[in-house]
């Protein structure tokens, strides 16, 4: 296992380098002067010159790439002239909010998705199954932000049950239990939006089909043949095996969940990375845009690797060789 972890670590290095190189190439394909793009819309001509010197933009292309790689790999994601601060500092401030939203939505969505998918698989073609399959397909087909609108309309505007924007009440409680309760009430709608639109439907579909598949397996027939009650066959033999594909999906769904969070944050003014990116688009703060792209991509790549390792640990049957 130790060897395997090392091997996987080595494998993500090219992916991370590719993310950075991709950024580098994109700036050069984009219309306009790379120095001006990397400085952003707020920079003065002097600043643009500083950037040109810093990244060696008057040097041959290869020297430029090396300078850029060196900067990014040492944690220098550039400088936002909109915030007048290093990009990385601003991003790190926004990370907790996004993390809280994504993790809450993932937790709720995965738990509900797997639970409902498993129940639906008990009686495929039944009312419960058909109803849920139709509902989750509908949820999957509408834009996330529109689903957010609908939830705001009912729970925020019509019934006035829950707050619909920001993460905390302005001038509200700032510590202890009152703060936790305040944040909890603010997170309900955005987390529900994110969970209902991507996460729940994905895990519903996956867990349902894998339970159905496992129930056809020979070892289930054996368990039934030896006289185990159906409840035990299901819980002890079927469910555990059927859960494995869902675990793989946790890693694969991360990118989608983070993309969904970007849109959800926009609708609910949630003060995370997504909101930051929206502002950067509006203000043409290119260093910020590129910094967010690199940061989130690398984070998702690392998180995917971690879930992959958990999966290998849960299911040792998977070969620990170099094959991916």
């Amino acid at each position: 296992m130790g060897r395997y972890i090392l091997l996987r670590l080595f494998q993500i290095i090219p992916t991370i380098l590719l993310i950075i190189v991709f950024n580098f190439v994109l700036v050069r394909i984009a219309p306009g002067d790379p120095a001006e793009i990397m400085a952003g819309d707020f920079a003065t001509p002097e600043v643009v010159e500083t950037i040109r010197v810093k990244y060696g933009l008057d040097q041959p292309i290869f020297t430029q790439l090396v300078a850029y790689l060196k900067a990014v790999l040492t944690g220098d994601l550039g400088y936002s002239f909109d915030y007048n601060r290093p990009v990385l500092d601003v991003i790190l401030e926004r990370i907790p909010a996004t993390l809280l939203l994504v993790l809450t939505a993932q937790f709720v969505g995965i738990a509900l998705g797997i639970g409902l998918g498993t129940i639906a698989a008990r009686r495929p073609g039944g009312t419960f199954d058909i109803g849920l399959t139709a509902t989750t397909s509908l949820l999957y087909s509408v834009p996330v932000f529109w689903l957010g609108f609908v939830l705001i309309l009912f729970f925020g505007i019509q019934w006035k049950l829950l707050p619909t924007s920001n993460m905390r009440t302005i001038m509200g409680p700032d510590s202890g239990l009152p703060l936790i309760l305040d944040v909890s009430s603010h997170i309900v709608l955005p987390a529900a939006t994110l969970a209902l639109s991507f996460i729940l439907p994905t895990f519903f579909r996956i867990s349902k089909s894998s339970v159905l598949e496992v129930m056809d397996a020979d070892f289930i027939t054996t368990a039934r043949a030896k006289g185990l009650p159906e409840r035990l066959v299901f819980r002890r033999h079927a469910l555990r095996n059927a859960l494995l594909p869902s675990v793989t999906m946790i890693g694969l769904s991360l990118g989608t969940a983070v993309s969904g969070a970007l849109l959800t944050e926009t609708v609910f003014s949630w003060p995370g990375i997504g909101r930051l990116m929206l502002e950067a688009i509006g203000k043409r703060d290119y260093p910020m845009l590129m910094g967010i792209f690199i940061f989130t991509s690398v984070s998702v790549v690392i998180a995917t690797l971690l879930t992959d390792l958990v999966y290998r640990w849960l299911d040792p049957r998977v070969e620990l060789g170099g094959k991916t």
């Binding site: 993310i19 509408v142 705001i152």
Partner: protein, 286 residues
């Protein structure tokens, strides 16, 4: 017929396929929904009651007999905008999915067929695309390359093709060991002839299914891009409408509801058709 379709020659299977396809209730519903959308997209100019770009009445009217879906903050007819949006959304998604289809077929088939270092490098590239958050990639590229509808469609196409490449690569890996490929080689056919003349036509079905589903994904991506302010101001887009509608959610909720329903309608239509094609193909295989 069955003897011929063992080879996977889709031509002989087609009559059976359509019968099977349309007998699936959800697929038939999907085809109907798609035809309605297609009709609106093609005849938008004739059907739309007003010019979607010019002021038709007072701003923010509720739905009524003159303006069935009401008017937007600039007094433009929302129904006409929704109808014209069909054309933009459909055209965008078909373009992006077509590009993804071609790129996926080429860059999946060639490495899969020749294998070796090329295949290894391509697998890494596919992994890169599959892992990074898609929307962030699309946003960054559109923001840097310009918020133009054609640029955006190309950006979406080159973001979603890796899924197709993976599918085709797997198909090629399994099909290249078949007897008819060896026969073609013995008969003196070149690699390109074998790959694109014999292997690809026989392995294309899952790609067709996935491309249908990608049309749905592209519709949602386009809506998200314009919602975030990266849409093309020269075109009516449902995402752009939703962006305009958000500040008026409390006072004129219908303005937000209709464009979202339109997106849902089109995405559900292509999803039902895609699932139907998949089911019909699987049934005809067994």
């Amino acid at each position: 017929m069955s003897a011929i379709s063992e080879n996977g020659l889709s031509v002989t299977r087609l009559p059976g396929f359509w019968a099977r396809f349309l007998r699936i209730p959800t697929a038939a519903v999907g085809v109907f929904m798609l035809l309605v959308a297609l009709f609106f997209a093609v005849f938008a100019d004739q059907i739309a009651p007003a010019d979607p770009f010019s002021m038709a009445a007072a701003p923010l009217l509720p739905p009524g007999p003159d303006h069935w879906m009401g008017t937007d903050p600039l007094g433009r007819d929302i129904l006409s905008q929704v109808i014209h949006g069909t054309r933009v959304s459909f055209g965008f998604a078909l373009g992006a999915a077509a590009l993804s289809f071609v790129l996926g077929a080429i860059f999946g088939a060639i490495p899969g067929y020749f294998g070796g270092m090329l295949d290894h490098l391509m697998s890494r590239l596919l992994e890169f695309f599959m892992m990074i958050p898609m929307l962030f990639l699309v946003i960054l590229m559109t923001a840097l390359l310009g918020a133009n509808i054609y640029v955006a469609a190309i950006v979406v196409g080159i973001t979603i093709w890796p899924a197709n490449a993976r599918i085709i690569r797997a198909q090629v890996l399994s099909l290249k060991k078949r007897t008819y490929v060896k026969a073609a080689r013995v008969a003196g056919a070149g690699h390109m002839k074998i790959l694109f003349g014999h292997i690809l036509p026989n392995g294309i079905q899952p790609l067709v299914v996935n491309s249908t589903l990608q049309v749905g994904a592209a519709i949602l991506l386009e809506a998200s891009l314009s919602f975030l302010g990266l849409g093309d101001p020269n075109y009516i887009s449902w995402g752009q409408m939703l962006r305009d509608a958000q500040p008026y959610l409390a006072i004129r909720p219908t303005f937000s509801i209709f464009p979202g329903l339109a997106v849902g309608w089109l995405v559900i239509a292509v999803t039902l058709v895609g699932d139907g094609v998949n089911a019909a193909l699987n049934r005809s295989r067994s």
